[in-house]
Symmetry: C2
Subunit: 483 residues, 2 copies
Amino acid sequence: MTKPEGPDAIVAAAATAHRVWSRVARATRADGLAAVADALDAAADELIEVARAETHLAEARLRGELARTTFQLRLFGDVLRDGGYLDVRVDHADPDWGMGPRPDLRRTSQAVGPVIVYAASNFPFAFSVAGGDTASALAAGASVIVKAHAGHPELSRRTARVVVDALRGAGAPEGVFALVEGREDGIRILRDPRVKAGSFTGSIPGGRALFDIAVSRPDPIPFFGELGSVNPVFVTEAAARTRGADIARDAMASVTLGSGQFCTKPGVLLVPEGSAIVESLRGAPLPEGQRMLNDRIHDGYVGALQDLRSHDAVEVIAEGDDPLGPAPSPTVLLTTLEALTAHRDELFQECFGPTVLVATYRAETDLVGFARGIEGQLTATIAGEEDDEIVPALVDELREKAGRLLWNQWPTGVSVTFAQQHGGPYPATTAPGATSVGTAAIARFLRPVAFQGFPQALLPDEVAENPGAALVRRVDGAVELRD
Amino acid sequence: MTKPEGPDAIVAAAATAHRVWSRVARATRADGLAAVADALDAAADELIEVARAETHLAEARLRGELARTTFQLRLFGDVLRDGGYLDVRVDHADPDWGMGPRPDLRRTSQAVGPVIVYAASNFPFAFSVAGGDTASALAAGASVIVKAHAGHPELSRRTARVVVDALRGAGAPEGVFALVEGREDGIRILRDPRVKAGSFTGSIPGGRALFDIAVSRPDPIPFFGELGSVNPVFVTEAAARTRGADIARDAMASVTLGSGQFCTKPGVLLVPEGSAIVESLRGAPLPEGQRMLNDRIHDGYVGALQDLRSHDAVEVIAEGDDPLGPAPSPTVLLTTLEALTAHRDELFQECFGPTVLVATYRAETDLVGFARGIEGQLTATIAGEEDDEIVPALVDELREKAGRLLWNQWPTGVSVTFAQQHGGPYPATTAPGATSVGTAAIARFLRPVAFQGFPQALLPDEVAENPGAALVRRVDGAVELRD
């Protein structure tokens, strides 16, 4: 594959490739994804070495992340073979249909067109060049242009080379995958009328700026941005009483995992006033500081933490040797629910790094009102007992706010499964109906199309009377399983 | 129900009602929709009389449209009872999951929140106060605020009264449905942070203006606008040769149906140069003119038609007595594919009324290139023979452009079914992944939410281990049918 010279040529190639890739058999795309997974596994040592140098992440973490990445590619292969993701509906003509004669209508889904994926910095494999957005878009049949994250440029290039070679080896069309670098090219491509969707994982300002570009095009396009989340944890009185020390310990493990550089890091912990949790956290031994992903993230973290530390309503109750240094040790901050409510714009904000703000509440019932006032979240967690009186009302509020609710578990570590939901109302994402993790992520890059009155020979296989490939679909409204 | 005074009170009531309505059993919402349908049927004579006076539509058409409207409400009841629309996924905890131990994750869908529906003028029942957007949003569990169309104010008020009374009678919460009038209130509500989605059927400028408001809120929300469509018809050489006169006749029936006031009216007919179709249309007897829906639509039609008629590349080949009068008789215009391509911005545009632009092509293969250049469409139609060489390439282009493809049928008359797709890339709609007609329309007003590690007692019924209500769902990836 000769590398196209500029963004225009890259988009042109992606548009051409889309027309081939979106039409091949689902099994062929599954094979292509598997080839990418195999090639990434084969290149693991080389890639992980580069990743370590560029991101300061530990080898074990990077190996785990790469395993997640290749698992994800193969899982989308299973999704393709199953076919249910197409949401195929076949309605035979029906002269007796309730509102008048019904024509023969057959609805399937197809790739929306070329997609631009803005890679994240904090998962150099799983949310970057060959990450979940790329895997789900390629699975959908879209061609993919990844805008590399500047935090790991060499890893991005090497990963892209592995992807391109693997796809070519699997017979995928030239141009179905490409990497671009630099903000200017990224924006030019987002504005290109041949590009039909965008996806992004990163900060609220960065994601909002791209969303605004996507929706203000002459022809607006869907933009799936995963932006920011505080991921509050609500600890009930009973839970704090019966297992406060455990909760404190597990909270800190989640907060400091990966130096707090996860979009699901629990940022605020709501605990009863006077509970053992605050005492457990005060002056508790904290893990060593780690170098952060890159200077920009480090500077952003230090600035945000300094703002929090200097806030009148906030007290530092635990910190390591060097909380603002180059490898920031974790920090635990304390405030009250009253202050958190009164200064929500300053205090209830994502602080991307190893810190948590603990807020004490007087009355458990205040948690419900607080939950009612917060913005959209990726996750919300309850540490509680099943018979806590407050819990049903709290769940009822939090399901309005978050894409995923957790019960006595911690939000970091987002499993890639059928039922995963990694999304939520703004500002958690720009598309509350979508997920960027799990098999349902493929839906972002699909568009339905119906065929009315078509002869069998002209229909796509999945809406034909007797499809060649296995499929789950609806026929005249009823589920049909075909092997 | 005392009528709330202003938009703020209406939104407040809708937000409160949403929390009740979205939580009731699916069967309860189905009963509510059926109650609305029954009440509309019972009020048919009164409503149709008002509708006739306000829209100039004939009684038979209005009766048919009301039947469609009540059918639609009941069909969404069936969708609710089926439960498949929730896309429920239950993943049991799995220590051996490929990327590492998987927690118990259960994903369902819930109403996005209060919705504002901008009613259309051209279907005073089926796309207005109790139309498809209202039916699908109420089915989803959303509360609905309809912004009445100024074209039928009294019908809107009377229909709203029927809906409110029927929902109240069925035990639905107060405020779950409300009507507002006037542009100012409509926009204020769209900007209200408690409103979580919008839908619209109407013109490109009107829909785009509302879309722009929705996406430029501090918290952008999904906006499902169905805007404009030319609905081109591609007639192959063989089809023109073997049944040109039939095609000409059927085309005109579709063009003039309802005085051409359908978003799926075929606006451009591409036919071979020298074919019998042009001769059949030239000076053909045309149906009588009909009064249009309202003055604004009439004025818009006359202006657009005058622009077309006076274009250098366009010839009038058939028109009735009074093509620009108060009850405009149909008009048939002629141009060439070359001119249509060269002047696409002026000629390939929606002209909402009883007119069609016939464009002659020299080479059948030119159709493919032309299709490649057009904007998003609700529909695209092929009149062809199955063994026409051009057809596969034409289908392949058109499925990139339109939400629904038709084969030897006509796009007007959009059946409400499981497989219907009424949507398409911009400017056909602002949300190419959605449909506004058919059972899949419910998905617009849903948002997924996952529960991780929850005890059974705290889970919504549909994700419980043993749901009480019938359901189709996925368990550990496999389809499970529960009666």
